[in-house]
Amino acid sequence: MNKTTRREFIKKSGLTLLSVGLGQQAFLRQVRAASESVLTQAAALSPVDRILVVIQMDGGNDGLNTVIPLTGSAASLYRQYRPTLAIPEENVLPIGTDAAGTLVGFHPSLSPLKDLYAQGHVAVIQSVGYPNPNRSHFASQDIWHTADPQGMKRTGWLGDYLDVAFPSADNPLLAISLAGGRLPLTLRAEQVLVPAISNVANYQFRTQPPGDHENKMRTFLALNRETAPEHVLREQIRLIALDTYESVQMLQSGVQRYTSDPSITYNQQNPLARALQQVAQILAADLGTRILYVSIGGFDTHQSQATPHATLLSRLSEAVAVFYADLVRLGLDDRVLMMTWSEFGRKVLENGNQGTDHGTVGPQFLIGTRVKGGIVGEHPSLRAEDLNPGLGDPKFSARAIDFRSTYATILERWFRVDSREILGGAFELLDVIRA
């Protein structure tokens, strides 16, 4: 069912509702039934049924205190550069040896992630960044969002993917951002509209008083019904309004299908856990959503970073672990891939305020049942000649991994599309997804 016919249905339903006085609930059921039939068909036609959950670590995560070197020159230099912030060796959770032979381990707050790692569900991609690193939060985030180091693109890499992969854009919930009210640039597309939802419970038409809600919604639909041929812009507004209505109905009725389980507890004090719980609700509703976006802020740790950074990593790993367990329970773990990213790592040398300043490369995590677990690439070298002179952060060297390699891998090996058009070139693929 393409976009026109789906909209055709809503328009006709609207007419039915008003002309024969069909009740609101019956109407909603009709919309829902239609949506489901759309989605069933779409799923059957679609070559892949895979879902990506993006987790942004906003502010520039201190990668060196996330994946910590335990042997070799990196380990000794790390302790030398981080007199107050180095994690004591005995507290580090060793995970294995990287391609250069350096034993590395997780920050102790990543213990739940370590468990997933031990089960083979986590790929740690080391030293991810891009040439000529930009140390401005906004500029570097834009580069990651758009996959364009020139920072000139106005659409995001996943927005471009949606435009390429879903040209008919027939589902208003193809992708959903749960990272506040503003749509992350990553998901900005030319064609596909992605809702930015601060909270699923708030993604509703608010009306006062409550008793007038059905009257208002019925009228809203009637006002957006097709009338005599009008200006093209008015027609577009009308159709998007109907899309909005439909997405609200789909989401609100869909998330009710999620049932909680006593063994799965999302910590409500942890904002990332709350967001991922909503992701689980959306996925359980099976609305055809392919990309979900969440964010955890606070990684810009310029001063007294030890405690806040530990808290953030603990939130991250706790939330990811409970979400993963929930996916297993729901039978969805095979279909979901999680990717973390942060706009940059931080300087090797801690600053005078027991914090760290903006740097360059950092680690990325891919998490999921279909992930080929292990360490990809090498820990950044901390030798003086491998640091940017005067800046004290690792150079983007031949050993580093371009973030667009991660993107290309996800596009090619997970979503199974040609990544070159989206990324503006071919990038080396990483061996991180099981066939």
């Binding site: 008003l18 009210g181 009306t207 006002l223 507004i237 609200v248």
Partner: protein, 516 residues
């Protein structure tokens, strides 16, 4: 079908300003279309909204104190500007400040000193003197917002926020090819004056070398880090030590000792075989897209470019003359402006949406003006937060190319944000700084009509108040049905008010109110 006189004047008021309340249209009709155009254009004869003392006081705080409240400052500044747009007797002035903010898009996200964005806002209003760092109303010599574009380029290039935002602050003499930072020089050509290509001829306007040479001329254009009497960098400083005195090779000309040479070349630049200047066409395109409709025809762009170029003997580079051409009947451009194609064919930006809503709902028929809302009210905070959800945070455009206008404003998120904002702002009581619905109902004479079940009249009156055109038969029928639909558990004494509030909410959420 050509527009009638009422529609023409209403269309003019909505586009050159923000709204056309029936009373405003009636008053303008009495003056006549021609006189109304001149009133809008010569806005200096009307009083301006005064500056907010709290904002001014914040400019004198120490940097540490200021940084502790800079988020609050930005909120206050945003609310103040919205308040100005709602209450100003100079609507075209504020429309143009909004135009320049979108064209010369500068975001606080790239600024160390957020105070500078306020100075820029006043600069675009003509109230800032970059050479002294002082705010004056007006600042003598400042060409914004409708004066000489050649001089605007100078005032823009001296603007403290701009000098920081695009790094020209750090542009120092390097060699005979390029300055040390070409960021500003690039955007000056690409985004601020002519664009990569001639908008009509579709040929390249300049080369990479022109950018590099221009960056030389802009070396040493910076802001004094400290100036006596000021707490943050706000005084333009020409640093001869850091400046490359040329000569430059730029847009086919050789010479110059300073950026004046670059500005002169830019505004006079014509591509080979082209009758109109590249800048005239670029601005003609941008202005007509902003006031008229998207993708204007080449003849319209060229006619506006001719005005910019002074082809008929007018003063060249004058923005007010271009606006006069758009709005004054009797030429090809205004014919397009007052055409069926232009009528109701602009999607309101979030700013235009909230400002038009506030102007219409707080319009006082006894004074003939909108009251606006209390700056510090819950309603103003609501409005400001809602705009972020709608996709437009003033002073924080997504990047230097500004906001994507038109249909890009309408997304599922923004449809919901507009719907919910209208609901929320109408639900606030007067005590919380909300809208005085009782006065609106009384002034529109709706009470009696409701009591006597004259629902069609209620719908028609509010549609005339809020929508650019009468409702279709279907919409009218749906709105009447809404007024008649019972609400369980509502006190009969408040039912009429509740229904009118609901009707206004629905009309503000309908496609008709998204267009102007």
């Amino acid at each position: 079908m050509p527009l009638d006189e009422y529609d023409k004047i209403a269309h003019l008021l909505r586009r050159a300003g923000f709204t056309a309340h029936p009373d405003e249209v009636e008053a303008a009709t009495a003056r006549g279309l021609q006189a109304t155009v001149e009133d809008l254009l010569n806005f200096e004869k009307f009083p301006d909204v005064p500056p907010d003392p709290e904002l001014l006081a914040a400019l004198d705080l120490s940097q540490d104190d200021f940084n502790r409240m800079r988020g609050d400052f930005l909120n206050k500044l945003t609310r103040w500007w919205l308040h100005v747009m709602v209450t100003t007797p100079r609507p075209l002035q504020e429309k143009m400040v909004l135009f320049w903010h979108g064209l010369f898009a500068t975001s606080v996200t790239g600024l160390e000193f957020w105070q500078q964005i306020y100075l820029q806002n006043e600069n675009f209003r003509g109230n800032f003197d970059p050479d002294t760092g002082r705010l004056l109303r007006p600042a003598p010599g400042n060409p914004f917002p409708v004066g000489n574009f050649r001089r605007m380029l100078e005032y823009l290039s001296k603007d403290p926020a701009m000098l920081y935002w695009l790094d020209n602050q750090f542009n120092v003499k390097k060699n005979s090819e390029v300055g040390s930072n070409e960021n500003y020089a690039r955007e000056l050509h690409e985004l601020f004056s002519m664009g990569v290509e001639d908008v009509v001829a579709r040929v390249p306007n300049y080369t990479e070398r022109d950018i590099r040479q221009a960056s030389r001329a802009l070396t040493g254009w910076r802001v004094l880090p400290r100036a006596a009497g000021f707490t943050f960098p706000r005084v333009f400083f020409f640093d001869a030590q850091r400046h490359d005195f040329g000569p430059y090779e730029h847009l086919g000309k050789r010479g110059g000792t300073n950026a004046d040479f670059i500005f002169d070349n830019i505004v006079r630049h014509r591509n080979p075989g082209q009758k109109q200047s590249a800048v005239g066409r670029f601005l003609g395109y941008r202005l007509f897209t902003f006031f008229g409709y998207e993708d204007p025809e080449p003849e319209i762009i060229n006619a506006l470019a001719d005005v910019f170029d002074g082809a008929h003997g007018e003063e060249p580079f004058n923005i007010r003359n271009m606006l006069r051409t758009i709005f004054t009947p009797g030429n090809i451009v205004s014919e397009a402006f007052y055409s069926e194609r232009a009528f109701r064919a602009r999607i309101k930006s979030p700013t235009e949406y909230v400002v038009s809503l506030m102007r219409l709902l707080t319009f006082d028929r006894t004074t003939g003006r909108p009251d606006g809302l209390q700056l510090s009210s819950a309603a103003m905070r609501l409005l400001q937060n809602a705009m972020i959800q709608m996709g437009q945070q003033l002073f924080a455009p997504p990047d230097v190319s500004g906001w994507r206008e038109g249909l890009a404003w309408i997304t599922t998120t923004s449809v919901l944000a507009r719907f919910n904002f209208a609901n929320d702002v109408l639900s606030l009581g007067v005590a919380q700084g909300g809208i005085d619905l009782a006065r609106l109902i009384a002034q529109a004479g709706l009470q009696e009509a409701m009591q006597q079940n004259r629902y069609g009249e209620v719908v028609d009156t509010l549609a005339r108040w809020l929508w650019p055109a009468p409702p279709s038969a279907e919409a009218r029928e749906a709105l009447i049905a809404y007024l008649q639909a019972p609400i369980p558990d509502v006190n009969p004494s408040t039912l009429a008010t509740t229904k009118i509030r609901g009707l206004i909410h629905l009309m503000l959420a309908a496609p008709d109110f998204q267009l102007c």
